[in-house]
Symmetry: C2
Subunit: 247 residues, 2 copies
């Protein structure tokens, strides 16, 4: 076992303990021990350290542990961050590393969608589209998302833009939209570019307003429909997390 550890086990364990509080707001020592698969004694010591630094406190009534005020302090100094494109980048990289495909971020600007951030897949064959690119809003997974979750007014506009096309087209369009808003994500296969496929999910800010679409895209032979469905929930989760960062 020489897979050189460049991390500190005790710290990782302590952080696991903190992470346990994503599910529950209050946990007893033994509950924590159970969740983290650590021995009581260890958890106790770790909790003592966390409590000493005010990362957790005990509810004097229930004797259980909960997150301490230091988390607030950190979170406070955190939300005032600046450029969303930069803020969201780390999370996008996480997703890229997890799925191995290019991840992009789009916003809607009138009848266009603009690619405001991207982290490239590091695989040999990959989709490329420059940051800042202005793309049509009528094709592509992210476009659909940006429409399906937009205010109804925007949707009306888009529908009117379809004026020239047949009633069947319109109907299909409407059905697609309802489906997307139902499942929470959209897919596209070779819509804008031959050989390219993508999944996209909406990003809502803390005020529940649609602000962007998060898209994962790759070559359609590698990025099959099954794979896309398989990854959808993960992408949606990432989008949710990202949304929480935006006010």
């Amino acid at each position: 076992m020489d897979d050189t550890k460049l991390t500190v086990r005790a710290v990782e364990r302590a952080l696991d303990i903190l992470s346990a509080f994503t599910d529950e707001t209050e946990l007893s020592l033994t509950e924590i021990a159970a969740r983290t698969q650590l021995h009581k004694s260890t958890v106790h010591r770790l909790l003592a350290s966390l409590e000493g630094k005010d990362f957790v406190t005990r509810n004097a009534e229930t004797e259980k542990y909960r997150l301490g005020f230091r988390i607030w302090e950190l979170a406070a100094n955190l939300s005032q961050s600046d450029d969303p494109a930069i803020m969201l980048q780390p999370e996008m990289e996480r997703l890229r590393d997890s799925l191995g495909e290019t991840v992009s971020l789009y916003v809607r600007d009138g009848g266009e969608r603009i690619r405001i951030q991207a982290v490239q897949s590091n695989q040999a064959i990959r989709r490329v589209a420059p940051i800042g690119a202005r793309l049509p809003l009528n094709v592509g997974a992210s476009s659909k998302v940006l429409i399906a979750f937009a205010e109804s007014e925007v949707q009306k506009q888009v529908l009117e833009a379809l004026e020239w096309s047949g009633a069947a087209e319109k109907q299909s369009f409407v059905r697609q939209m309802t489906e997307i808003s139902r499942f929470g994500y959209a897919t596209s296969v070779e819509e804008r570019e031959p050989g390219a496929a993508a999944v996209a999910a909406p990003i809502f800010n803390r005020g529940h307003k649609l602000v962007a679409a998060l898209a994962v895209s790759g070559p359609s032979n590698r990025f099959t429909v099954e794979k896309m469905k398989e990854h959808a929930s993960q992408i949606i989760e990432a989008a949710n997390r990202m949304g929480k960062m935006l006010k």
Copy 2:
């Protein structure tokens, strides 16, 4: 050196690193090392652990470290807490342990103030007042705070209630109010109870609305005017932190 350590040093250090981000949103490894008085190598290992668990990430541009999304996750699950009296209790205990005096929390209800939470000094001689007690709004440090930082309408009401008293009284009252709102805290010595003194600071929620007054009180011989002034900033800080927890 047998002062039994029931804490884990590595963890404490890691938490110190996290705490460093209360001041700055972005720090480089060496900056952190300087602040925490730890050796580069150690910081590096600790940061690797923190990064692995997504408590910090690196801004891909600047190569510097910043807080990771796990902090958001935690903070998110944190803010939905329920009863302010319970939420704020740990922070009040901190203050009590630091100053050694009884800490109370008051809200205004019409022409009264209500004590909604308290953590007692553990010293022999101590001020006592039961939770839920409804007290007059015209005397006491916390009363003054609850008036001085209230909407002007409330202040007008209180002033009208002083109708019967002389113009000099009124003027003195107004001057006191402006002073309090200027310095951010109020004091009282033997106003409501002989032998008792108190300092109070306002608690504003995240919407900058006055929601409560935080008071520290003790016997006036022990809790002198000098001591009160000395502790004022600490009390104000605690009140600020507590306010951040309330939406």
